[in-house]
Symmetry: C2
Amino acid sequence: MIKVLKLNVREKEILLRSYFLSELPSATALKIVEHVTVASHEARDPIFKQGEKADYFYTVLTGFVRVFRLSKDGREADIGIYGPGETFAEGVMFNGGTHRFCAQTAESVTMARYEVDKLKQFASQDPAIGIALMASLSRNLDQALECVADDRLHTAPQRVANFILQNCPENASTARFRLPFQKSLLAGKLGLAPEALSRAFSALKSAGVSVHGRIIEIGDVNALRNF
Amino acid sequence: MIKVLKLNVREKEILLRSYFLSELPSATALKIVEHVTVASHEARDPIFKQGEKADYFYTVLTGFVRVFRLSKDGREADIGIYGPGETFAEGVMFNGGTHRFCAQTAESVTMARYEVDKLKQFASQDPAIGIALMASLSRNLDQALECVADDRLHTAPQRVANFILQNCPENASTARFRLPFQKSLLAGKLGLAPEALSRAFSALKSAGVSVHGRIIEIGDVNALRNF
DNA sequence: TTCAGGAGTTGATCGAAATCAAACGGTCTC
DNA sequence: GAGACCGTTTGATTTCGATCAACTCCTGAA
């Protein structure tokens, strides 16, 4: 891991547009940014482990981070993949200062780190900061609940269809996009083994989905909605 | 549904001890309590439906509330069961004012209702209120993530064992407690069909768990931990 | 007491996805 | 260009839990 003290211009841009800071008046956001540190990680670096003391929470600037639970017998279950602009582990501000999950980078990643103690102080002085943090927490909570519901209601091909639809423009009848990360990572995010993801993609061929490497093409978006 | 305008003394007590309000200095908590309305519901009453406009969020005073996603084809997936002192649907303060899930009472229930607009106002004036709300959101987020991980890592008997262990005192070698709600509700909470819950309980007999109606007896808590 | 209805259990079958194993197709290196 | 390696795909098998159906048990009402 390489730590960088100062944000470059590009990183600052991304950070100010992130879900958390974009909720704040720019003066406030700029003040917080001054207290941020940047961390760069190689691919597959551990960021933190469950049980560790938690001094920071994070906003991803570039790359993707995988957050997962490690079970006693060494198996891993993903509970979230976070990309540019997304904040993770804000929960540690209130749960006793211990990480409940593990996090590692997928590809090489840069992140902004917020010091928990500092942000608690800021939040206790300016209500807007607490509200922005709540918006971020709320977003992550909704996603987690959505995930539980999706897991429990839908089969593998349906979950993959849902994921694809989230990446299609709202009112398009046909679409095409590139997966932002490896298929094996997507499999984990959807709670599937890589083999199951592969088979789910084949099953979606009949609904007009074709896959070439990371490129996904959807022939009929509406057909996919009713899959 | 019967609405009551004023909290009785007992209800006020429970409310002040709830996860949300207990985080606040009592003067602040009392101020908020003045703006709360109380709602009483019969068993199996709908509280709100997904897609509806969200004017309130809730803290349970007595009874249990089931929050679930309703799928297109009419199946339901529970995403949380909330009991006395627990707050649900705070997410609507930040997600555009629409309920993303359905809620209904399990047994007869009384709840305190917070008006979203009023609480936003309060939170924008007093940082402590935002922080207390964050603590509640954070708690619910942790539970949701825990649920995803549990679903993905553990079999039905293991999930039931985990649930039982959460209801055992930390340092006991033997324990006994009463389920606070119907087994069918527990099944939903754990993402199981009622039949699967029943079979899971039988499977746990070999680990020293015996079940008589709603009474659960655990012969060897440590054995259960390693199940 | 009897009957009805709901909750829970038990049994049999089926289906979805995990797992294990092998093959495939890229890319990078030497 | 040959080989090695990694991510992905395909095939065969197994396992877990859903589903459907029948039955038990308990409670409450007539």
